[in-house]
Amino acid sequence: MINIKLNVNGKDYSLEIEEDKRLIDVLREDLRFTGVKEGCSEGECGACSVIMDGRIVNSCLVMAVQANGSSIVTVEGLVKDGELDPVQRAFIEKGATQCGYCTPGFIMAARAFLNRAKDPTREEIREAISGNLCRCTGYNKIVDAIEEAYRYEKGI
């Protein structure tokens, strides 16, 4: 067992964990942020994507100990004062979710991308979500939603 400190969705946690746990295990099992999904356990599907210190990462490919001292944002952390994040709103508006299993990962990838993006093209958006697999939507409505979220944020 080992002690680690994590900031998740703005809240500090001090946890005693089994050392062989991955970040996803701590988020799901210890902290119950079950919006973080596990689809492949090898960094291919991106369902477990979270923002770690400002960067999108696969939480299945980060040991929990490696995240010691880091700030993590999961999909649960995007709702602020009861208001949905623009990406979440756009996903609803554009019909970008179907079975929903990949959705939190896509939303986090889109959030991380839009935090740095400037007038993104559809091609750039496609690249930004290329680490997330979706089997239902064929991606097009997800790209539509991310474009829409950018417009919400820029007020255009």
Binding site: T34, K37, G39, Q88, I92, T97, C99, Y101, C102
Partner: protein, 423 residues
């Protein structure tokens, strides 16, 4: 007649969208119950052979709560059409991935340890992996006396006469492969005893009432003592029509009187559920000088793998759809579902109707090439319209806007239309 409606036809937001974008949609693996144990499945690593287990060492491990095998299942057989699948293999393994035992322990690591400690003895026998070979008399048999599960026939008109009258004939053999649904959420579930003593299973399924029947039947308990709760489903595409972990969880919860949770890894998910039927399709299609289809003959052999699942229905659907959406006066179809020791094939989006167009649509283009005709014109001449008769003699009385579909396609593609455009 087109009527305007108040709600139908409107782009309302998905009713489940809010939960799905906020991470609040609960899939079975997201549920944690008080006093919950974990279960893992031991699966065969060979494709064909006899198996026996020695679970004694594994049972001794502290924290292992139970190891379930065929001996613990009152009625070991189930299946969507034929009851040819076993909850746990009793004697003969028929494919890689057949469930042999279900280990329940206090945590997943102990399950892994117990799985390693179970001794598995195999006596391998020759398998059959090609559906065409499997149809031969001396092929190894997967079940019973023949590997041919089902043979579907269409006999309409006189194909020989149709070919005699044909100006052009195209013959080809097409092959499609087995594929996976690859839905994003691997199978997961929890079995528990509900507040009124029923055996309850929370799962992601395409058909909760079917799962309920199979649980009642295999555990030999009244159906009103079973409850299936369908949590959110992370994609299905046909891959959640057969039973995967439902019976295992129900059995373990019933015996242990504790909640038992199982989450498949991606690799186990591939092993656990059905696949799309691989097909070998031998096609012969004939048309007159003007491009009117006169005859089509096909033999379609579908690999249903180790279990029937929906094999009969898939191969029927393939056979019924074998002509494509075209009127053909003379049709002969023979489609077969054949057992092999491959992964079992079942329902996958399109269900047999997805494979046959790989053949019939290429036949159409090949005929067009021979006739010096363009692909649009030859189709326009032959497509189903209202009043058309299908190869099974069914009259399409309404709802056949295929000509409109094709015209709109041509318009949107900017497709060259007409003979002069053909290259």
């Amino acid at each position: 007649m087109k009527r305007e409606f108040k709600v139908v036809g409107k782009n309302i937001h998905r009713v489940d969208a809010f939960k799905k974008v906020t991470g609040r949609a609960i899939y079975p693996e997201d549920i944690f119950m008080e006093n919950m144990a974990y279960g893992k499945t031991l699966r065969s690593t060979i494709a064909h052979g006899y198996v026996s287990l020695d679970t004694r060492e594994a049972e001794k491990i502290d924290g292992v709560l139970g190891i379930f095998t065929y001996k613990d299942v009152p009625n070991n057989r189930y299946g969507v059409v034929y009851k040819d699948q076993e909850v746990f293999v009793s004697k003969k393994v028929k494919r890689v991935g057949d469930p042999l035992a279900f280990v329940v322990a206090e945590n997943e690591k102990l399950c892994d340890l117990a799985l390693e400690k179970i001794k598995v003895y195999y006596e391998e026998i020759e398998g059959v992996f090609d559906p065409v070979e499997a149809m031969e008399e001396d092929a190894p048999k997967v079940h019973g006396k023949s590997n041919i599960l089902y043979h579907f026939k269409i006999r309409k008109g006189d194909v020989e006469e149709g070919f005699r009258r044909s100006h052009v004939i195209v013959e080809n053999t097409y092959k499609t492969h087995m594929v996976d649904h690859a839905f994003l959420q691997p199978e997961a579930g929890i079995g528990y005893i509900d507040e009124e003593g029923r055996v309850a299973v929370i799962v992601s399924t395409q058909y909760p009432h079917y799962d309920m029947e199979e649980i009642a039947s295999t555990l030999n308990i009244p159906i009103d003592q079973v409850r299936v709760i369908n949590a959110y489903v992370g994609g299905a595409f046909g891959g959640r029509e057969d039973i995967s972990l439902q019976i295992h969880l129900a059995l373990a919860a019933k015996v242990l009187k504790r909640p038992v949770k199982t989450i498949y890894s991606r690799e186990e998910s591939f092993l656990a559920h059905s696949k799309r039927h691989a097909m070998v399709m031998r096609y012969k299609t004939g048309a007159d000088k003007e491009g009117n289809l006169l005859a089509m003959e096909t033999v379609i052999i579908g690999d249903t793998g180790a279990y029937a699942s929906w094999g009969e229905n898939v191969m029927r659907k393939a056979g019924v759809h074998a002509t494509g959406p075209y009127y053909i006066p003379n049709v002969k179809v023979d489609s077969y579902a054949v057992y092999t020791n491959n992964p079992f094939a079942g329902a996958v989006r399109g269900f047999g109707a997805t494979q046959v167009p790989v053949a019939y649509e290429q036949q159409m283009d090949a005929l067009a090439v021979k006739l010096g005709m363009d692909p649009v014109t030859i189709r326009m001449k032959n497509i189903f319209k209202v009043g058309s008769e299908t190869a099974t003699g069914q009259i399409l009385t309404e709802g056949v806007p295929l000509e409109e579909c094709l015209s709109k396609l041509v318009e949107a593609m900017g497709y060259p239309y007409g003979k002069e455009a053909y290259r």
